[in-house]
């Protein structure tokens, strides 16, 4: 059955002004810019991810078929939502058994597919009226804490970002069928456990937003730790994460969201200087700051200012503030380490993790000298939580090295090497180990 667009008084661009080839381009462009938003609304209208995806596909198919003939509608998004909805009803009717018209009516009714009163209908279609953007519903649903972390990431990348299953699988070094199963299971959980398609109530917003931000940051770090060698075949997750961050900032006015975006921008801006072309680590003090992306730093800094001006200091905002101090400094020596320590003090208050405490200790060493830093690091190691964390031992080793305590540095570097499998880190640590152990026991060959 051929789909005909709903009769409407909507003005359209006259057909004779539109050539079929350029209509194709227009549709491509609309797909790129609007398909996620259309999908988000269709999920709300149809109450089901898979039905909505089918409907989205159908809608764009219909657009390609009819727009060359009828012209591109003035509100393509509304047209597509309408088209998707009509096709979805169509499909239900065709799939339901002949004797089950009651069940069919029930499904259609449940989905709110019956045409509501005029005003409701307009509101439900297009949320420029100031009602909740459906993409926000989609993001909060995909990032629901009742889903496993892996599921949240996969589902968000697929439904919100529009990546294909293959692309996501590739990025996370997982087999495509495995990733596909993960997504199927996630959708099943949403359906079977009754996870509603909604933005959380005020009371739960902070906690739920936290989950969303962590999903985005996980995606960012996945891209961030990807080795340069593989970047040709692995899609850039850092870019996706930043894109997600921008979307969230657009949809929500919450300082932490701005803080997260700032953090990602500031990290990303400094990425080119962090490794050599072969993927070897470059220490902060040796980094060529001219390789930093000035625009990214400017934007990141601006956003941090804005987030901080709210007077609410969430963990992402504070981490971004720390990154901004680094990014604005001309060199390690001229970095405002006192300010960084102060920021870590604040960060530790909202996120009292031992890793934060460790980073603070490293900053203390920069502000007050290695001896002071060593006291702080040793306190942490004594407390026990960081015993298996290679960076704690690497930090201790480095401080001992700077104090000329090479024998102790040797022990700590050995411990650090034993605790990490990451190639560039190991290589770097082993080099340091060789240095200090040969000083500790000169004339004796040390294999480290």
């Amino acid at each position: 059955m051929a789909f005909d667009p709903p009769a409407s008084n909507e003005p359209t661009i006259p057909a004779h002004d539109t050539m079929a080839a350029s209509v194709h381009d227009v549709v491509d462009g609309i797909y790129r810019d609007e398909s996620r938003r259309v999908l988000a609304t269709l999920i709300r209208l149809l109450g089901d991810f898979d039905r909505a995806e089918e409907a989205l596909h159908d809608a764009f198919e219909a657009a390609l078929r009819t727009w060359p003939r009828d012209g591109v509608p003035n509100n393509p998004r509304s047209w597509l939502i309408s088209a998707g909805r009509f096709r979805a009803i169509d499909r239900i009717r065709r799939r339901s058994k002949l004797d089950d018209s009651r069940a069919e009516a029930e499904i259609i009714h449940q989905m709110n597919l019956e045409t509501p009163d005029g005003a409701d209908w307009a509101d439900s279609l297009d949320d420029d009226s100031g009602l909740v953007d459906d993409r926000l519903r989609l993001i909060f649903t995909c990032c629901h804490p009742a889903l496993s972390s892996d599921a949240r990431i996969a589902l968000t990348l697929r439904e919100v970002c529009g990546l294909t299953t293959e692309e996501i699988a590739h990025a996370f070094l997982v087999r495509t069928p495995t990733l596909a199963q993960r997504i199927v299971r996630a959708k099943a959980k949403i359906r079977d456990a009754g996870i509603p398609y909604e933005v959380p109530a005020r009371a739960e917003l902070a906690e739920r937003l936290d989950t969303v931000l962590h999903v985005v940051y996980l995606v960012f770090n996945e891209g961030y730790s990807a080795s340069t060698g593989d970047s040709l075949t692995r899609p850039d997750m850092s870019d996706e994460a930043i894109r997600l961050g921008r979307l969230l900032v657009e949809l929500l006015t919450e300082p932490e969201v701005e803080g997260l975006l700032a953090l990602m921008l500031l990290h990303e801006a400094r990425r080119p200087a962090r490794t050599t072309p072969d993927g070897a680590l470059v220490l902060l003090e040796d980094q060529d700051r001219s390789l930093w992306d000035a625009e990214g730093i400017a934007e990141g800094s601006e956003r941090v200012e804005r987030a901080l001006s709210s007077g609410r200091f969430g963990p992402f905002t504070l981490q971004a503030a720390i990154a901004a101090v680094h990014a604005e400094a001309p060199s390690v020596r001229d970095t405002d380490w006192a300010q960084i320590v102060g920021l870590y003090d604040l960060l530790h208050r909202v996120d009292p993790s031992p890793v934060v405490a460790l980073n603070r200790a490293v900053a203390v060493a920069m502000r007050d000298g290695p001896a002071a830093g060593l006291v702080a690091v040793d306190e942490l190691l004594e407390a026990g939580e960081l015993a298996d964390y290679y960076l704690a031992h690497a930090a201790r080793a480095d401080l001992c090295r700077r104090l000329g305590r090479d024998a102790e540095a040797t022990i700590s570097y050995r411990r650090a090497v034993a605790l990490t499998n990451e190639t560039s880190q190991r290589t770097f640590l082993q080099t340091r180990l060789a240095e200090v152990s040969s000083r500790a026991t000169p004339g004796v060959k040390n294999n480290g």
């Binding site: 804490p145 009742a146 959980k189 079977d192 456990a193 009754g194 509603p196 739960e204």
Partner: protein, 124 residues
């Protein structure tokens, strides 16, 4: 005395039953529970949705922790059973989060099969 009879089954075993086996099992279970009803022994019977639909909530240090999956803690034992009516999982989580035991232990929230799908055991 009242007793709770908590049925534990390996879901993968159920998944491998043939349609005929499944129907047969269902009929047997319905018949058995009907007997129990008639004899006045049965107080309540419910079927759980798959464990894949389970969510567990805890509150530690004042912060709610919600995770995907069942409450599998070897150091905790089944202690109470509540059946609640809730609009959706968010509401169920909100309700469960108010129970004092959420601070001491874990509360697994699993949807129950609707009345129609409830007859007998594990209709697959």
């Amino acid at each position: 005395m009242r007793y709770a009879c908590l049925v534990y089954i390996d879901e993968t075993k159920l998944d491998t039953l043939s349609d005929a086996e499944r129907v047969h099992l269902r009929r047997e279970s319905i018949a058995c529970e009907d007997d129990l009803r008639r004899s006045g022994h049965l107080v309540a019977a419910e079927s759980f949705e798959s464990v894949r639909a389970a969510t567990t909530v805890r509150v530690r240090e004042g912060r709610p922790i919600t995770v995907d999956g069942p409450a599998t803690q070897s150091d905790e034992q089944l202690s109470r059973l509540l059946v609640v009516e809730a609009r959706d999982l968010n509401e169920a989580l909100r309700l469960a989060g108010k129970l004092p035991s959420v601070r001491l232990g874990s509360i697994e929230i699993r949807p129950l099969r609707s009345a129609r799908g409830n007859a007998g055991v594990d209709d697959g």
